[in-house]
Chain length 167, copies 4
């Protein structure tokens, strides 16, 4: 059975998404593929598309867990799972991933990350990628919570942690 | 068609749940019923049970959207929707509510609140109830996000806002 | 906790739906309400609407488990559960019902009845109501299957069986 | 994007499953892989396991859409999608497949086939494989239904039809 690494983050409608963050997403996808992991993501634009692009550059396999029809998948998705369950697809994505990496993100990404931490999946957030991931990287914010995400400073560190924590 | 007001918050395994917060939940349920609203919640213990208890005190109707079998519903639930979808039930709960009130909460509650804000439901958090609701009541934290919750200081204010915003 | 009786059947796009079958659906809804049961159905037109109409005539409570938004509920639905899960809502409907009654129906209704029998819910089909329910009422057809539905000849008999089998 | 061909049928608890039917399932999987299709199935035993075994013999890729944890996947599954949605996973499986092939089966398989026909997916049943597929291969039974499955007499014919109908 193949190892599936989930990548969650803003889609292309997030105006705060910087080119640096998109580069981060692409590198995360690349490193996942290089380590023979399968990228699993929400299948749409923005962070998801760049991560899938990176995975294909690394000759990897990409899965998109889509809210609706497979025609909406980005062009780097190999396997489109067309759930037609709307954003309940977030739950399937998180359950199927062996570890989850968060990049930037708004409420939709926070939804995925909160599922991941609620379920107890290894969850790694990339500090400095923007949005909710930056908010959640603040240790003082999380000090009263029992379950906390792992924080990574780079794509390489995030992917290394994802593989290490899902052994 | 009846108006459904969602209440989300920690279940009974949250050690941080104070008696003041449980009282808050009960009052929220009571005021929902008094205004002829139907309480819809996750159907389990803690905040959910106290809110349902309050709604029954107010002669209201209570719905529990359960992750599994209806035998797990708390004793104040009239209508048990046994989804058998695990925590994907959060999505159904939020979609069905005309407005959502958050009380205390850990990652599971944050999952519901993030669904609510992602979808654009009227979402009211009770400040001072603890957990994630207190974190999310900090205006500086949310200043960079496009979509923000409403903040209420009391059960009465929260329920009034829920009815007003879902007209 | 209230007893929920599920009613499944064709929506209004089924051209084979006769006025006799719609009358059957209305009577089923009426008898459910008379026995203090809550009608739970898919919330849309045809058999679902007539059953809900009957339940309201009997002063009962009606729940619609909708595939999408609550605006699509028929006018006799009190509690609209807006799943936004498409036809995965069939699974929730069946899981939540204490017993299931089938009337007429095409592939969508067969989907609900097959869930019900697969899960082992008490499942009653009304013979003579048309569509798949008539096909499935043929004992020779089912003779090789381990799990079989109950067959009723009238609305009254179907509702009596539903209450008896879900005690 | 890869083409996904769904295979539905009894799991290993079906006592009526013959060795001929298991051979049929294996051949279906093999031909799917030979034509560069990806096998998508429920990921468990019986027909699902044999189809996945055949796909691996043909050097193909296999996806299992599981009701629960990925540890329950059969040993021929490459990509385990752990939905934790119980049998609502049937809906995801059917929505994701470009065409669906049915082999033998009880109520659970009928649930998948009815989803497929309700949604309007190309649906091919293998006549003579037993269970519901044999019942549904009887043309007189289906003569009054608007939407009908395609009937194939062999694994090769079924896979050829699946590719042809999903172009």
């Amino acid at each position: 059975m193949r190892k599936l690494i989930g990548v969650c983050g803003s889609d292309s409608t997030d105006k705060e998404l910087s080119s640096a963050t998109l580069k981060t997403a692409e590198e995360v996808g690349y490193y996942i593929a290089q380590r023979d992991g399968v990228l699993i993501c929400g299948g749409k634009g923005g962070v998801m598309e760049q991560a899938a692009k990176g995975a294909k550059k690394g000759n990897g396999l990409t899965i998109g867990i889509l809210p609706g029809a497979k025609e909406k998948a980005n062009r780097f998705i190999d396997i489109a799972i067309a759930t037609h369950l709307g954003y309940a697809r977030n739950y399937i994505l998180i359950n199927s991933a062996d570890a989850v990496i968060g990049i930037a993100g708004r409420w939709g990404t926070l939804n995925e990350i909160s599922y991941s931490l609620n379920i107890g999946k290894p969850t790694i957030l990339i500090k400095g990628s923007g949005g909710w991931m930056d908010i959640l990287s603040d240790e003082t914010l999380l000090k009263n919570l029992d379950v906390r995400p792992h924080i990574a400073d780079s794509p390489k560190e995030a992917v290394d942690l994802a593989f290490k924590l899902s052994q």
